[in-house]
């Protein structure tokens, strides 16, 4: 008898719990429901009206390390174009300087992402064996770890191979930031959502090149189609021995480096 009673009160507790759970959970989603209902639809099919079919493209970038002069104009233009906060730590693209010394030590620096370029290396010139600049950005992996870990499906790969973030659905949990082996993501301090390079998706869908490519004075960055035969990128890829960053991770990057030193990580 006692047992039954116990069971019953447990039952009631459980039901109450479920009810409360349901209520509180729907409360949690309520703003989402409202915004989803009001915000979708308005802009729909803008992409089609541009006459742009993502299925007809596959984008990638080539980077020729032998051409980069470390002026950092790409970093600056990226922030200007995309309204990235000017403070350090928030970068969609940045430039690293590698200095490899005769004692095999390797020094990598990127003062404020190189937005103001680099200062000459002083005093230790004599001991440097090799030195060069490496521009970095999201690799738009074909096999993106960041997309796999997103709990709400807010980051995704488009048909043209670009990894994007739906900032309306991003809950700012930072999983993707942790998951990216290239450190290419950050949490926007204002919106509290994940941010990253979009290959300037708003430009490339309108036949403009990404801002970093637009301003690169030495054509160290080559942007274009990976698959189409008469594309500058395809020519670049044919002419150079290419490397990608961290190939062992099988992320299959679509940013390809030419003349890359083994020391680059």
């Amino acid at each position: 008898m006692e047992k039954v009673n116990n069971q019953k009160s447990n039952d009631i507790k459980r039901r109450k719990f479920l009810k409360n759970l349901f209520l509180s959970l729907s409360g949690l989603f309520l703003p989402g429901i409202v915004s989803a209902a009001t915000k979708t639809g308005r802009l729909k099919d803008l992409i089609l009206s541009l006459g742009y079919d993502p299925k007809e493209h596959l984008w990638g970038m080539g980077i020729d390390i032998d051409k980069c002069i470390g002026c950092g104009r790409c970093v600056n233009a990226c922030k200007e174009e995309n309204g990235v906060p000017r403070d350090p730590f928030f970068f969609r693209t940045w430039v690293e300087r590698y200095r490899i010394y005769d004692n095999r030590e390797t020094l990598v620096d990127s003062p404020n992402g190189a937005i103001d370029g680099f200062k000459p290396s002083i005093n230790d010139e004599g001991n440097i064996i090799r030195s060069f600049f490496v521009p970095k950005l999201c690799n738009h992996c074909d096999n993106p770890p960041c997309v796999q870990v997103c709990p709400v499906g807010a980051t995704f790969k488009t048909d043209d191979g670009v990894i994007l973030v739906d900032s309306k659905y991003c809950i700012g949990c930072r999983y993707c930031i942790q998951a990216c082996p290239y450190g290419a993501r950050f949490l926007d301090p204002e919106t509290r959502t994940a941010e990253k390079c979009t290959f300037c998706y708003h430009r490339i869908t309108k036949e403009l090149s990404p801002a970093c490519v637009e301003v690169c004075p030495t054509q160290a960055r080559i942007f274009g189609e990976i698959k189409k035969k008469p594309s500058p990128l395809v020519r670049f890829m044919r002419q150079h021995v290419l490397g990608v960053l961290k190939p062992a991770l099988n992320t299959e990057p679509k940013v390809f480096y030419a003349n890359m030193d083994m020391e680059v990580r």
Binding site: L43, D45, P54, L164, E214
Partner: protein
């Protein structure tokens, strides 16, 4: 109970999952539209030609042919829409060009670099290099062809902008038969006073002295080397 939960789930799902989810892939299709409707700030390198064809034509054969206008002038989409709305800035100051041209050992060899501390340090780069066609200038190898040391000294001095012929009236023949036709040299304290005396009307940035009491017993150049005047 189960039925209730299932209907609740389906109901919630129909509200939570946006109608256009999965249209192109496993994501919300209008997210793409939101992303591509972002404002464009860099107009691109082709549009300037419509209004600045002279500069575009000048630049396209020079060393800076691959340096986009907007690298130096900043994002220009607003300017191209309405030139009156956004007036672009030009980087006239000397500190700007070394961003690309300062000697840094990490830069690819072959890229033209200078050490700005010793490359004509007192003058803005654009006084010698036209930024839209920056070939090294053919300076009239005039005085400095033969008086190289003096002109180099002067180019590092405060008198960098004072032309040789301000102080030396030079007959043209001097450049051909220099020893036969000598230029003039200043002979009086008042000559320097024209620019430096307290009651001269020259620009404010030129330092002034009282010519009657300042080193009054000597010629100015007995204390100040005129090609590298220093006031320590």
């Amino acid at each position: 109970m189960l039925i209730f939960l299932v209907t609740a789930f389906i109901f919630m799902r129909s509200i939570l999952v946006p109608p256009d989810f999965g249209k192109y892939g496993h994501y919300r299709a209008s997210a793409i539209d939101e992303i591509i409707s972002q404002e464009i700030k860099y107009a691109g390198h082709t549009v300037c030609y419509d209004c600045h064809d002279d500069i575009v034509d000048l630049k396209k054969t020079g060393y800076h042919k691959n340096v986009a206008c907007e690298v130096c002038h900043g994002p220009a989409a607003l300017h191209t829409d309405d030139p009156g709305e956004l007036k672009l800035q030009a980087p006239r100051e000397r500190g700007y060009c070394p961003l690309c041209h300062e000697y840094i050992s990490s830069r690819p060899t072959g890229f033209p670099q200078i050490v700005s501390a010793s490359h004509n340090p007192m003058k803005p780069c654009i006084s010698c290099h036209e930024p839209h066609d920056p070939k090294p200038p053919q300076t009239p190898k005039e005085c400095d062809a033969c008086h190289a040391e003096i002109s180099r000294t002067k180019s590092l001095s405060h008198h960098v902008y004072v032309d040789c012929i301000e102080c030396h009236q030079t007959p043209n023949e001097h450049k051909i038969k220099p020893r036969e036709y000598l230029p003039s040299k200043p002979t009086t304290r008042e000559f320097c006073g024209n620019c430096h005396s307290k009651d001269s009307t020259t620009p404010e940035e030129i330092p002034k002295i009282d010519i009657n009491s300042h080193g009054e017993r000597y010629m100015c150049w007995q204390c100040h080397y005129p090609h590298l005047p220093e006031a320590q």
